[in-house]
Structure formats: structure tokens, C-alpha cells
Chain length 368, copies 2
């Protein structure tokens, strides 16, 4: 049986406001619909089957996942058309094949194509394989200014009997390093345009490009409007977080996920300690190792900051002489929602103060 009220939840707890979540889901679905772009949300943010179902109900064409074990949670639950947006090696190819669903994946080198071709040999249906393009993050992918290498990989995929060329995929994660909202917008425009340019190169050489897929929450509204973009793969938009607010991608009122925590000690008028530390918030202060924002923010309590974390302690600092008292409960917007969810076993879904559901984080803490 569910606790009735937010006030009854044991802390620390990860709490999701149902109405804000629904509004975020609808806003992204509407953005994509307005531009005629498909939405394939990334489940790494939420790892929750009910949330993925709602994304599909609202028009998402399928899901993106970061690893096979994460994808399996959703395909085992009957969800279909999952892009494992990660270069798979070794036993991961067999693990992907073992999923009972339509799946696809990506590569960024020849050996990757060959491993997938061998691993998929004899399958009833060919595996969709995208080429990952790097538009500036500097992580995985063929650099966007080397379209001839992208073309060579696409042709190698097409030449493999067990594979079919799925299209082009990128993630402009460098937006998380952008100094301000205008720079984020520029990254988003570049993301769309660079990918369209690579696709044009392939098409000019006679290579069909079924899909140009881009995606990140901060760049979504800029990239979606660029000609030639077919699909968006954002993740964090479902909850938003302090980082997305800092990047201009959300307001505090959009932040659907908070950590509910209890003050357990008060060192002095300025210092209090709460029961959520790095094992609840993670130590993330931004995606991709950035440190743009504090570990957490209390938008409703001006002058109070979460300034440090031990494993099970949060360090609260009050600017004025009003640190909260032991026993007080606070709700804190984390820096990076994906990392918080990954540490939780379940999310508490609330409407106002009423607890309406509890969703298991189906793949939390699943290293492999």
C-alpha cells in the first residue's frame, strides 16, 4: 500500500510531480509534431517502464537506450523499436540479438560493422545499423567534417547481408559546456545543419539515408527546426533539473523531480546537514563531467544552498541566519536528474502532496 502523503515518505526519497512530468512529455511531443520530426526519447534518464509507455502513447516512435541491459528492461516489458545508441563490442552483440523486439544500433568504425555483421548472420531480419557522427562532443563517432568516412561505413553496412543502413545519429553533448543560452542555441543549429550536410554528401553519392537522428534536451528546440532533421532523441526533458535551468532549457517550474530530504543536524545558525548525500544526489554537477551548477538547488528557499555532499550527508549553508532545524523536510532540485534516478530503487509519483504511484527504477545501479 502506498503512503498517502508526501509527508509520510521515508527520506531520502526521489519524488516526481505527475503534472509537471506530463506537461514536459506533452511539450516535447508537441515540439516534434509541430516540426514533423519523430521523437525517440532516451530511457537512460528515467529507466521506468510506465514512463516509457506514456512516451509511446504520446506519439514517440520508439525508444533510445544506452546499453543492451537497459534496453532489455523495456523490450521484456513489451516495448518495441529500441535503438541501442552505443557502439557494441564482443558479447554485447549476442546480448542484443537475444532481445525479443525490433532493435537497432550504431557503429563508428569498420570493425564495429564487421562484428555486427557476424553476430547477426542467419537472423530472420536484418539489423538496422546507424553510423554515429560526432558534431563536436569529441567522444564517439566519425567527425562530421569527414563525410567520406561516414559514406564508407554506410556502404560497408549495406554490403553486409545481415545488416541494413539505418541512418545517421549524433548527440551534441558539447552543449553542456556552452557558456550561455545563446551558445547552446548555436550548438543546436550546428547539430542539425552538420548532420544535414553529411546526409547530403551521402545522398549525392547515391547512398540512401533513411533517418537523420539528433538529440539532447538543451539543443532540442534549436536542432528540431533545422531542415533535414528527421528524429529527436532527448532524455532529461521528462524531469529537467538544475543543469537544464542553467542552460536555458527549462524553468524551475518545469523541474518535475526533486529529492525529499530531512534535516538531521544543525551545526550553527548557518549550517545544517540533511540525510541526502552523494549516494542519493550523485556527485554530478553537470553532464559529461561539467560542473556548471551546485549539487542541488532549493528554488523555493532563497538564501539556502546545498554546498557539499558526503555519502549520506548533504551540507546546507544559509546565507542569512536561518539554517533549517532538525526534522524539517526539504525538496531539492538535483544538478543532474539522470544520475539521481540511477541511484534510486523507485520513484514516488505525487500530485500536490498526495502520493499516487511508485515506479520501480527497473535498471537502477545496473553496471552491466
Amino acid at each position: 500500500m502506498l503512503p498517502r502523503s508526501l509527508h509520510d515518505l521515508p527520506t531520502p526519497a526521489v519524488v516526481v510531480e505527475a503534472d509537471r512530468l506530463e506537461a514536459n512529455l506533452r511539450a516535447m511531443a508537441a515540439l516534434c509534431a509541430r516540426h514533423g520530426v519523430r521523437l525517440r526519447p532516451h530511457v537512460k534518464t528515467h529507466k521506468c517502464v510506465p514512463l516509457a509507455r506514456r512516451q509511446i502513447e504520446l506519439g514517440a516512435v520508439g525508444l533510445s537506450a544506452a546499453k543492451v541491459s537497459e534496453a532489455r528492461v523495456f523490450t521484456d516489458a513489451g516495448l518495441d523499436d529500441v535503438l541501442v545508441a552505443y557502439p557494441l563490442r564482443g558479447d554485447k552483440v549476442a546480448a542484443l540479438r537475444a532481445l525479443d523486439a525490433t532493435v537497432s544500433t550504431l557503429v563508428d568504425d569498420e570493425a564495429g560493422v564487421d562484428a555486427l555483421a557476424a553476430g547477426w548472420a542467419g537472423a530472420a531480419r536484418p539489423l538496422g545499423v546507424a553510423v554515429k557522427v560526432d558534431v563536436g562532443l569529441g567522444r564517439v563517432g566519425v567527425p562530421w567534417d569527414r563525410p567520406e568516412r561516414v559514406l564508407a561505413l554506410a556502404r560497408r553496412i549495406e554490403a553486409a547481408q545481415s545488416l541494413r543502413f539505418w541512418g545517421l545519429v549524433t548527440h551534441a553533448g558539447q552543449a553542456y559546456r556552452a557558456p550561455d543560452a545563446e551558445a547552446v542555441a548555436a550548438v543546436g543549429r550546428h547539430e542539425g545543419d552538420a548532420m544535414a550536410q553529411v546526409a547530403q554528401h551521402l545522398r549525392g553519392a547515391g547512398q540512401r539515408v533513411p533517418c537523420v537522428s539528433v538529440g539532447s534536451t538543451p539543443t532540442a528546440r534549436f536542432a528540431v527546426a533545422r531542415p533535414g532533421v528527421d528524429e529527436l532523441r532527448p532524455g532529461v526533458y521528462v524531469f529537467h533539473d538544475a543543469q537544464q535551468v542553467a542552460l536555458g532549457a527549462a524553468t524551475w517550474a518545469d523541474c518535475a523531480l526533486t529529492v525529499l530530504t530531512t534535516v538531521v543536524s544543525r551545526g550553527d545558525d548557518r549550517r545544517a546537514i540533511c540525510d541526502a548525500g552523494s549516494k542519493t544526489f550523485s556527485s554530478d554537477r553537470g553532464a559529461h563531467g561539467t560542473d556548471r551548477v551546485p549539487f542541488g538547488v532549493l528554488p523555493d528557499v532563497p538564501g539556502l544552498g546545498l554546498v557539499g555532499l558526503s555519502e549520506e550527508h548533504g551540507w546546507l549553508r544559509a546565507e542569512a541566519a536561518d539554517a533549517p532545524q532538525p526534522g524539517e523536510r526539504l525538496r531539492i532540485v538535483p544538478a543532474h536528474a539522470c544520475a539521481v534516478v540511477n541511484l534510486a530503487r523507485h520513484l514516488w509519483i505525487v500530485q500536490g502532496e498526495r502520493v499516487v504511484d511508485r515506479w520501480p527504477v527497473a535498471a537502477s545501479g545496473q553496471v552491466c
Copy 2:
């Protein structure tokens, strides 16, 4: 059935070398025995029942835990005498009482004493309650230079019929901020001496002090030698990590825990990407929010560094032109072992390349 060899493990995997673990366990047990000090290791590092059993076999008097839900994993498994070294509020007191074992806890203010006294009323046996003393971390606890406040709390505990005064507890976590090994040693000496001084104040006022308990891995060998210290509560010593090496508390040869990861992409001669990111390593670069060390270190691969993390990607940078190739497997010593274990569902135990066991991380990712 277990995979036979390290080479058969799916990656990313958290791997523990059994022989190094055993040596670390024995070394700390011997250190304590040599000084006639009791050992009450902190389970927050490993969260593994078999490992706690081995600690007890080697002479530990009991266990320390950071929260009731963590303690429950061990008391449910039949382990006894657990100190929940955390100021408990609200429903946590009832949760503690529900444990089927001898437990104890701590306070740092009057309201904490009163909450425990009320929550333990009518129990068959009194609850052991320590006073937390702050020797410089600036987190939880009565400052060590306010011994009259410690005495007042001890007397309040003694005055409550359902409680008994357990002793004094501290954690000199400020050692993690010490600039060098000599400064760590100074923190350790201060930890022991400050606590002995507080105990002396209480005894001078006629208050019995059953136990003076200190503890952290970096300060252990310094604090253990100070007169008046009765008990040590280190955690990380079982595995050690890059941070402990930087603090002078361990050598690379002592590091029993590594992340096994596969290279999945190679951007250029200098850059490679592996399949372990912040959802495996955490974003910790030190305890208590410090950032002393990189996210991970490859002691056996000179010139190769783990320089960044996305959620499922590790960024490897080669100083010379020799970045590893896709498919290569690497073992990386993390910055902070506790955070890595907390993200894993199980630990793979190896002897050389042979996999000998798999231990569930019984309380991984358990926010509450």
C-alpha cells in the same frame, strides 16, 4: 554458474582481488590488535554480507552502518552489534527498533536524545546511544572544544530510562582535505587526542565513558596509537582506491577493487572511449566532495589517463601515441571505491584471472 575467467566477464564489471582484500582485512585487524583497540568496520564501503562475516571472523567486535536500511541487510543476515553512526530522526527510530539485533546509534543534540528515548520506551533492553563529536570535519557532532555540551548530552542519555550512554564517536573526514601525507598524520593524531581530551572532561565530572570510537581509513594508523582510543571504524581499507593512495594510506598494490572495462571507440591516436562512465565510476574524485584525484587511474598503463566521464562512457587520453584499440579490456582503480560499489549490483571476486565468487551488493543504490 560463474564465468571461469576474468576474460569472460561482461563489462563494465566491478572486480575484487580476493588475495588483496584478505591482506587488507588482516592488516587492519593486526593494526588494531597490536594497539589493543577494537575494530568496528564501516559496511558502507562494501555492503556485502560475506565480506562483513570475514571481518567478524578476523576479530571485528561488530559493524558500523550509515543508515538503518543499510544496517538491516546485515542484521537480517544474522550479524549482530551494529552501530548506526548517524543522527536518526522521525520514523528512522522505529525502523531501528524493528531490527532483530543489538544495535546502537548516536546523537548530537537534545532533541535527538529525546526522540530516541521516546522511540525506545518499553523496550526489553536499553538502546546504546553515543554522542557524536566533531573534531574538525564541520559536519555532524558537538565541537570537541565544547566538552561541557558533550557532558550535558551524556547525562541526558543516562537520565533516559530506555537509553544507556554508549560513549563518544567521531570521524575525522577532514583528512580527505589534507594537503599531504604529513597533514593526514596530524589529523589522525588530533583525532585521537581531541577525543581523549573530551573523554577526560566527562570522566573528571564523574561521567563514565564506556568507549572512545574514532575512524577513517587515512587516519587509522595514526589515531590508533593515541592513548585513550578504544575503537576504530574505518571503511575503505578493505578495497583502498586512488584517493587512499594519494593520501598515503595505501599503495597501488593494496588496491583490491578495479573496474573492468572494454574500449568501444577510438577517436584518434590519443583518444579512446571505454564502456564505463559515471554510472559505473560515479563522479566522485574524492570523499566529502573533494577532488584530489582523477575519476580513475591505470597504474599498470603509464601514460594513459581516465580524463572524463559521460554516463556510460569513459574518456581515455594517451600522452604518447598509443591509445588502446576497440575491444581491449582495461582495469581501472577508481577514485572512490565506496561510490563504485554503491552503483554495482554485484562484485566479481577473482584470484589472478580466475573468477571465484560473485557477491551481491545487498544494499546498492538504496536511497532509503
